[in-house]
């Protein structure tokens, strides 16, 4: 690899101050440190430093996303052969090929458009090209449906990078998670492609009358029938039968096309239609292991979010039973919340984003609780936006500084009290 090093060393003077391409130095620096660890020396104490750098932490998140991506590629093909070309006996290879055919263009568009945006900002602002986009770029396609037109992916990516990050100063300064901003932009700007009853299956013909609602939407269909008094017992809430009673009634009325297997196992494994990378809770948990063990993602946030979700779903069950609500989402047990929709994916990979979450260690727990709470509330109370976690995280992003404020005040008070003793 020495020849590569030599080429880079020979190129360096061109990009240094006074060189021909001085203004493009960020580009050179990015390539140089991408290929080789930088050779800067410490100038002040401490004189030895850990080998961890931002590139390393970012690549670990990307590695953690790999199970989701690989599963997602397979699942896109799987859904295609389930809904579009139903007749064939497709093998695994066929499914993966279809998946690649769908996912690769989305990735190419995301990285080309997002990377270019990043580089333009780096050159204008004269700062180094940040690794941050590496993760954002991997995340964006995973939260988009495979059926989304590429131009929408491109515009969402630009919006996410510019509005979500660059206008605040780039990685480290943003207040909202750029990947989520991109997702929310797509959701609100192109509602016909991302909400309603549209089927999220690659190459799904629009007019054939077949529709397969995503798991959340199917669960959220409100029952309007005068059903017989359901069993509001705590046990039937926990095992999901209370929820099913309402869903079944609405199904009987022909309100949803429950062509999707909505059993807990099926949701956990994720062989259901949905966005590319978020359907499989199993794949998400594999990645979660990596980011928690390496310390890149905060376990406090993950625990907080899960706890908040548990607590709120119990709360809604009690509340719903008391007022006799017919909204099935009120009775969705916590373990279903966990596997349904993007809850697990967003909690592990988006809620834990360190820059936009609460910065204090104690605050991270409260931040997580808030996400879990808001997610279930949005899912249940406003079924028009079934994917509550996305909005819940953005909401918590906005409140993170406030959470930190209270943690800081408590710390100040505590230390002042200690000195007074």
């Amino acid at each position: 690899m020495n020849f590569l090093r030599k080429i880079l060393d020979n190129l360096e003077p061109l990009f240094k101050k006074g060189g021909k391409f001085e203004s493009l130095y960020p580009l050179y620096e990015a390539g140089d440190t991408f290929l080789y660890t930088p050779n800067d020396k410490t100038k002040t104490a401490p004189f030895v430093r850990d080998h961890i750098d931002l590139k390393r932490t970012m690549i670990l998140v990307v590695m953690a996303l790999m199970p989701c991506l690989l599963f997602g590629i397979y699942n896109v093909g799987h859904q295609y052969y389930h809904y579009v070309e139903t007749a064939t006996n497709a093998t695994m290879i066929d499914k993966i090929l279809i998946g690649l055919q769908s996912v690769i263009p989305i990735y190419i568009v995301t990285f080309a458009v997002g990377g270019l945006t990043e580089v333009i900002f780096a050159i204008i602002r004269k700062h180094e090209v940040n690794e941050g986009f590496l993760v954002t770029g991997f995340l964006i396609p995973l939260v988009m449906p495979p059926s989304l037109p590429l131009w929408m992916v491109a515009i969402s990516t630009i919006f996410g990078v510019v509005i979500g990050k660059e206008i605040f100063g780039g990685t480290g300064y943003n207040i909202f998670n750029p990947a989520l901003v991109a997702r929310v932009f797509a959701f609100f700007a192109y509602p016909t492609a991302l909400s309603g009853d549209t089927v999220w299956v690659y190459k799904m013909p629009e007019s054939d009358g077949l529709s397969a609602a995503t798991s959340l939407l199917a669960s959220a269909k409100e029952s309007i029938s005068n059903m017989t008094t359901p069993d509001y017992g705590f046990f039937s809430f926990l095992n999901g039968s209370l929820h099913n009673q309402f869903v079944d009634t609405s199904n009987a009325l022909g309100m949803t096309h429950a062509d999707v297997d909505l059993s807990w196992t099926s949701l956990f494994l994720g062989l259901i239609p949905g966005s590319i990378g978020e359907t499989s809770t199993l794949a998400v948990l594999l990645g979660a292991g990596l980011i928690v063990i390496t310390g890149v993602g905060s376990l406090k946030i993950i625990l907080g979010t899960t706890l908040g979700m548990f607590f709120t779903s119990f709360l809604l069950y009690v509340f719903g039973a008391l007022i006799g609500s017919t909204n099935p989402m009120m009775y969705l047990p916590p373990h279903y919340h966990f596997v349904m929709g993007s809850f697990a994916f967003a909690m592990i990979f988006m809620a834990t984003e360190p820059v936009t979450s609460a910065h204090s260690q104690k605050g991270k727990l409260y931040y997580g609780l808030l996400i879990g709470f808001m997610c279930v509330i949005i899912r249940a109370i406003n079924p028009a936006y079934p994917e509550g976690i996305m909005l819940a995280i953005l909401f918590a992003n906005a409140f993170a500084p406030l959470i930190d404020y209270f943690v800081i005040q408590k710390n100040i008070k505590q230390r002042r009290g200690r000195v007074a003793l």
Binding site: M1, L4, R5, E29, T33, L35, Y36, T37, P38, N39, D40, K41, T42, T44, A45, P46, F47, V48, R49, D50, H51, I52, D53, L54, K55, R56, T57, I59, L60, E128, N130, E131, G169, G170, T171, G172, Y173, I293, T294, G295, V296, S298, P354, V355, H359, S360, Q361, K364, D404, V407, I408, N411, I412, Q414, R415, R416, R418, V419
Partner: protein, 457 residues
């Protein structure tokens, strides 16, 4: 007495641990004194080139604290004075006659007529210590500067269990020569109405301390920085304002002061621990104050040159020196690192089987393969703060480092005060810089914050 078991932090293991045998280094021909190593000093030199000096002759004083004497550690002739930009005094070079003749200390005659050191009042004790030029040995927090001779500290701290890499074994030091230790404790006891806190760890049980009734013994266990006085103060006697002064000094300093009270002699030697991965002969050295590294290098044939990475003090909190400079006035460690210039292909992507890290981000941690480092590479590029909670993992203080650092960067004095800047010292935050994935100079920023508070707070 109290025992604290701290869990946050890290014990950095460097190669080249010194063997506990003392090599005595002969006096050097030239002695170098650098006034800039005293924080916030504005030195005014009181000697001229060619002037004769004795051990204890005043060389310069601080314009802000003109009463405190800074003296010569040897006898001889002033050879030259090096100035930098704006006439900043960089170095006073003394041609050493190696006689070590000492000035007459006028207050000592009165002292010896007294029955005991503890019979002295604070004023007299200060006068004697200052007359000998040893006052700068006593430092204060906040600011880690020379103690204010006018004030009375609320307590005094002595760490007997420093946890810095390559730190001197303080018990070995006392066993080697405890001359003056008890007298030194008596002397500094006169300086405060508060406690004299001596910090040990659970493995230490020096019988010598049993007889001291003014002294309070505390135990701090756990990884570095559990041996730093800043951490001890944080738990035992926290500092809340600029005027809230706590003083500290080392065992060697106490012995020096004590020896003065025993026989009126100014001790101009000290024990230092020399080691590190770039050092061929790691051992304890007894050196005269102001001895240039080049002299030690020649005498011990260390093979150092201008490219050597020489650090006066600990690798975590010291400073780079070139081999013509001497070991710092406050430093007891001489660390030598390897000068390495290597760039790893795709280092951020590969598993990293031999990478030094405190985090779980490389496979080496899993294999327990590499817990030492031998060079001064930064191992990454500077980035914006991305708070993944690494700083908090190595800081055993009830301080929110992330917010403190941000308030310092924003120069928000009020917030810095509230977040506890006065309790901080850059050395306590060294591990935060070491572990930071954005390569934020946490210690440096803490120091800048303290400088700002010193000037404006």
């Amino acid at each position: 007495m109290a025992t604290f078991n701290l869990s946050k932090g890290y014990d950095l293991q460097l190669e080249g641990q010194p063997i506990k045998e003392i090599i005595e280094v002969t006096p050097s021909d030239v002695v170098k004194i650098n006034p800039q190593e005293y924080k916030y000093i504005k030195p005014k030199v009181t000697v001229k080139v060619e002037e004769d000096v004795l051990v204890g002759t005043q060389l310069f004083f601080d314009k802000n604290n003109p009463d405190i004497k800074h003296v010569s550690p040897c006898s001889g002739k002033i050879e030259s004075i090096d100035y930098g930009p704006k006439r900043k005094v960089l170095s006073i070079n003394i041609k050493n006659d190696k006689e070590y003749n000492q000035i007459e200390l006028k207050d000592l005659d009165n002292l010896f007529s007294l029955s005991s050191i503890s019979g002295l009042n604070a004023q007299a004790t200060k006068a004697i210590i200052n007359e000998s030029g040893m006052w700068p040995l006593i430092r204060q927090r906040p600011f880690s500067k020379v103690a204010n001779i006018e004030s009375k500290p609320k307590s005094i701290f002595v760490s007997m269990s420093p946890t810095d890499p390559l730190a001197l074994d303080q018990l070995f030091l006392l066993n080697d020569s405890s001359v003056g230790f008890l007298e030194g404790i008596d002397a500094i006891s006169n300086l405060t109405d508060g406690d004299i806190n001596i910090i040990l760890n659970n493995n230490q049980s020096p019988s010598m301390l049993d007889s001291l009734d003014r002294v309070k013994i505390h135990y701090f266990n756990g990884p570095h920085p559990s041996g730093n006085v800043g951490i001890h103060m944080h738990y035992l006697d926290p500092i809340s304002s600029k005027e809230d002064e706590v003083w500290y000094l080392t065992i060697q300093d106490i012995c020096k002061i004590g020896k003065l009270f025993v026989d009126g002699k100014i001790n101009v030697t000290k024990l230092i621990s020399m080691g590190g991965p770039g050092c061929d002969k790691p051992s304890y050295l007894k050196v005269y104050d102001g001895t240039p590294i080049s002299h030690i290098n020649d005498e011990l044939e260390l093979g150092l040159d201008d490219n050597s990475v020489v650090i006066s003090g600990s690798v975590l909190s010291g400073k780079y020196i070139n081999i013509n400079e001497s070991v710092g006035f406050y430093h007891e460690i001489l660390t030598i690192l390897k000068n390495v210039d290597e760039r790893h292909f795709l280092g951020w992507l590969l598993p990293g089987l031999d990478k030094f890290t405190l985090t779980n981000t490389f496979v080496s941690k899993l294999l327990n393969a590499n817990n030492t480092i031998n060079h001064n590479m930064k191992n990454g590029s500077n980035r914006a703060i991305v708070p993944i909670g690494m700083w908090e993992k190595v800081l055993p203080m009830d301080i929110l480092p992330n917010f403190l650092i941000r308030s310092i960067l924003a120069a928000d004095i009020e917030d810095m005060e509230k977040l506890g800047i006065y309790e901080c010292s850059e050395e306590d935050f060294a591990l935060c810089s070491l572990i930071c994935q954005s390569k934020v100079e946490v210690s440096q920023i803490i120091q800048e914050g303290l400088d700002l508070m010193y000037e404006e707070g």
